[in-house]
């Protein structure tokens, strides 16, 4: 079903995908209007037991972890000198920038009085709080990511002098990105250290900050592999020879790293269990769920990444990247929703309203649209001919 209409002199085809995207945007705008005119109570199922719901779990915790590809890739290239992955830096940094921008946008939905979002910096700083550190790091890192991706925009706009200044700052920005990411990725886990009585012992551990940081590296590596595959499939015509030539090497190299980091993450989780002597919980229903998370979404992708990298099976690596991403998403859902308030009766437990789902899907759609808008216009998946020699 597609009929044609004209817009700004160009033929614009209405396809089922565009209709779906249009429907999501329209519904998202309606719920946004309700949220900002009627308040949180009108659109969410949040209550005093669960003041942080789907928007924090998915839009913030998952969003921040999955946007880690930016610092992982730029650190690999500019700090560890793995120049063969250079073509992956811009797409990864762009995904990181859009991811963090959407995290901040999502926070305006979730903070009761959204225009007070800058209060921790301007009015009431709480420098001893993990949340203050997360807020500060996210704000600074968003600025760093903007500067890191700005050469693409400046090349597109033809501002070569300004671009030259920003490019000279690349190493400093990369180091800043790594420092800020280390701080806030771990602090997001640190936020849950104050709820030992609310979070199930299998997920609660004094190693939570370390677990969040290490798993964010897995998320970053896997997202770069996954996103690279999607870009090649849907935007392959925008890629230059270097991108296409190196895409398989990138997947194999990142799969090796992913396998090692996942193995480390698995042992950190085991260490948490051993240090708190939580073994007996493994025989319960929550234990089965934990074993599924650790076995199916940590140990399995670790082995599959290793097999894929050894056999140079890029197809296996790409599917494993999806599994690993799902594993990180599952972990964030478990820590902040499923295993949170586990003592409460089921009728008192939180389940998101349909409007919360709409906003989360709306924000992801905005991210995909923004990514497509940028990569179809700016030199992200290809080198700008004027600067190809650099």
């Amino acid at each position: 079903m597609s009929h044609e209409t004209t817009a700004a002199g160009k033929r614009f085809q209405i396809t089922p995908v565009r209709l779906l995207v249009g429907g999501i945007l329209l519904l998202g705008l309606i719920v946004t209007f309700l949220r900002f005119t009627q308040g949180l109570g009108a659109v969410t199922n949040l209550d005093h037991n669960t003041p942080w719901g789907l928007w924090i779990t998915f839009d913030l915790l998952c969003g921040v972890a999955l946007a880690a590809g930016g610092f992982v890739t730029s650190a690999a290239v500019y700090i560890f000198g793995l120049n063969k992955y250079h073509s992956a830096v811009r797409p990864a940094v762009l995904t990181g920038f859009l991811g963090y921008a959407l995290v901040v946008l999502a926070l305006t939905y979730d903070v009761g009085i959204p225009w007070r979002l800058p209060y921790p910096f301007l009015v009431q700083p709480g420098p001893s709080s993990f949340l203050f550190e997360v807020g500060l790091c996210v704000a600074l890192y968003l600025t760093v990511l903007f500067l890191e991706i700005s050469p693409a925009g400046l090349e597109w706009l033809g501002k070569s002098r300004l671009r030259k200044i920003v490019v000279k700052m690349t190493l400093v920005l990369t180091i800043l990105g790594v420092v800020l990411s280390t701080l806030h990725q771990s602090s997001l886990g640190g936020l849950y250290l104050i709820v030992p009585s609310k979070l199930h012992p299998l997920w609660y551990s004094s190693y939570l900050p370390l677990e969040f940081f290490v798993s964010s590296i897995v998320a970053g590596l896997s997202m770069v592999i996954f996103e690279g595959a999607l870009s090649y499939r849907f935007l392959g015509h925008k890629m230059d020879r270097e991108h296409i030539q190196h895409k398989d090497d990138l997947a194999i190299g990142f799969a090796k790293a992913g396998s090692l980091v996942l193995a480390g993450y698995f042992f950190i989780q085991l260490t948490g269990l051993a240090a708190d002597n939580d073994w007996s919980y493994l025989g319960t229903g929550y234990g089965a769920w934990y074993i599924l998370e650790m076995g199916g979404f940590v140990a399995l992708p670790c082995l599959l990444f290793a097999l894929g990298a050894r056999e140079k099976n890029v197809r296996l690596i790409r599917w494993t990247a999806v599994l690993a991403v799902l594993g990180i998403v599952l972990n964030r859902f478990n820590v902040s929703l499923v295993a949170f308030n586990w003592h409460l009766a089921s009728d008192q437990r939180y389940f998101p309203s349909w409007m919360e789902f709409v906003i989360s899907i709306f924000l992801v759609t905005l991210g995909v649209l923004a990514y497509t808008f940028v990569v179809t216009r700016m030199p992200v998946l290809y080198e700008h001919p004027e600067y190809a020699e650099e």
Binding site: A263, F267, A275, D276, N277
Partner: protein, 43 residues
């Protein structure tokens, strides 16, 4: 759940197991590294 009469007993057990796990991890990560890189070296 295993019974512990004193904090010392608990710490000895949990820390002891953690140290054993650390040893296993060192060996396992070494093995994984060999598995990942051995074919590259052959090539």
């Amino acid at each position: 759940m295993q019974d512990f009469s004193t904090l010392h007993e608990f710490m000895s057990f949990s820390k002891g197991l953690t140290y054993v796990l650390m040893g296993v991890m060192l060996v396992a990560l070494g093995g994984l590294w060999t598995f990942l890189t051995s074919r590259d070296e052959e090539e």
